[in-house]
């Protein structure tokens, strides 16, 4: 029932950066969808996370600005202190409204917006974290027929977030960090 992936979302909180470090270098450059990364992080001092990610992949890493047009094969990092919404399948909007789950960016906000916009053509992965953020979003994506996965809670530095997702979605795909790139490369 899963259709072609038009966008891949990766959400993470505490303990997820090391997973990304492991996964990013292994992702093929010919993937046919954009990757959106939503991470909880501090807004001040400004971080150079996007430059850091750039050093470990030959895909373009872009910290998005408002109304950025997204294209396949690029990695888009949601900036600190903004939510990311999809205006349509090609354009994002940033949003500085209230925090959701004590977070801005909120993973739920982007996951839900993707479900609305891309329907069943979304794939989402939720990584390590100490928050509840992202779980509702995974459920929404699944309801719309998209594909959802989590980091295997036993492999997570902070297992609260993926474990909570597993409780809500018992049949969700569980991935070890070393398997994630392959999972992504094999997405139709």
């Amino acid at each position: 029932m899963n259709s072609e992936t038009k966008v891949l979302l990766i959400g993470g909180s505490a303990g997820s950066i090391s997973v990304l470090f492991q996964m990013l270098p292994e992702i093929n450059t010919d993937i046919h969808f954009p990757i959106i990364i939503i991470l909880h992080r501090k807004s001040y001092p400004k971080s150079s996370l996007s430059q850091l990610f750039e050093t470990m992949t030959s895909l373009n890493v872009i910290e998005v600005e408002d109304k950025t047009e997204i294209a396949e094969g690029n990695i888009y990092l949601v900036p600190a202190d903004y939510h990311l919404l999809f205006e349509n399948e090609n354009t994002i909007s940033l949003d500085a409204s209230e925090k959701v789950n004590y977070s801005r960016p909120s993973i739920d906000v982007t996951f839900e917006s993707a479900a609305r916009t891309f329907n069943n053509s979304v794939t989402a992965i939720l990584l390590s974290g100490a928050s509840q953020d992202g779980v509702e979003g995974l459920k929404n994506i699944k309801q719309h027929g998209g594909k959802v996965a989590i980091q295997d809670p036993n492999s997570a530095e902070v297992d609260y977030m993926p474990r909570h997702a597993l409780e809500q979605l018992p049949d969700i795909i569980q991935l070890q960090p070393p398997q994630m790139a392959q999972f992504i490369n094999n997405l139709k």
Partner: protein, 273 residues
């Protein structure tokens, strides 16, 4: 969980009603954001269906202000993006200090936190006496709040940290008096701020400024409306004046791009011609 109480088509219908009855035109607001806000208002104000919301908006004039307040985003902070304010303090405002009179427009000021931040900066570099800050917003309710200078005590710790990161050296609490769970900022700080309503969608230029701040407002507009507002700012700025946008907003792709020069590392653009 059902994602949307309100469908796209219903949203369009409601926006047409609001425009026809009350003259507020939200048709060029970002649809993604607007839809979130409309669904949020249904939850917060307990409308079980679109029809209920629509009936209330159409039939209850007094509800409209609340509607406008809820669908526009009024999240703001004092000294948000401390490095931006540091740049204003150390570079931009001292340059404006060479003019006999400084006019600043805070467009989309919401509850006024940015206007007060600018007032504090100007005061500390001894320019406030010859400055005038115009702080405007579409929504009369937030303007009313802004003019009172009363803010929650709970956010002062954050604002104080922002202020220090922005280069502030004073005791931030010296600017306000705490009363129970709120603080009131010194009267003197808003003595040179003019609060008034102004709708960026439909109202025209009303003065010429040396600095216009419009930060994290345009993200809620579609590209076409963004361009229209950029032109409004252009015609409201004197040559060599500055336009300051939010950290993730840009004049790239607009007609201003060629005539404005960006301050390196900041979303501050100077009008060159």
């Amino acid at each position: 969980m059902e994602l949307d109480i309100i469908k796209d088509q219903e949203m369009e219908m409601l926006l047409e009603d609001v425009s026809a009855i009350y003259g507020y035109d939200f048709s060029q607001y970002s649809k993604a954001s607007l839809k979130r806000r409309l669904n949020r208002i249904c939850l917060v104000d307990r409308f079980a269906s679109f029809a209920e919301l629509r009936y209330r908006v159409i039939s209850d004039k007094t509800y409209l202000q609340r509607f406008v307040e809820e669908i526009t985003v009024n999240v703001t902070e004092m000294f948000r993006d401390p490095l931006f304010y540091k740049k204003l303090r150390n570079d931009i405002l001292p340059k404006l200090g060479t003019y006999p009179f400084i006019r600043i427009w805070v467009a989309g000021c919401s509850t006024g936190e940015e206007a007060y931040s600018i007032a504090i900066l100007l005061k500390e570099i001894n320019l406030y006496h010859k400055a005038l800050i115009y702080a405007t917003d579409i929504n009369p309710t937030v303007i009313e709040k802004a003019s009172k200078g009363i803010f929650p005590l709970s956010v002062m710790k954050q604002y104080s940290e922002n202020y220090i990161h922005a280069g502030g050296t004073k005791d931030f609490s010296s600017y306000y008096t705490a009363m129970y769970d709120v603080v009131k900022f010194q009267e003197e700080l808003n003595s040179r701020i003019l609060f008034s309503t102004h709708n960026l969608v439909s109202d025209s230029s009303f003065n010429e400024f040396q600095l216009i701040l419009c930060r994290n407002v345009l993200i809620y507009f579609d590209k076409e409306l963004q361009n229209k507002v950029f032109n409004l700012f252009d015609s409201s700025l004197q040559t060599l004046g500055y336009l300051a946008l939010g950290d993730k907003e840009t004049i790239r792709f607009s007609s201003l791009e060629k005539r404005f020069k960006q301050c390196k590392g900041h979303k501050i653009y100077q009008k060159m011609s």
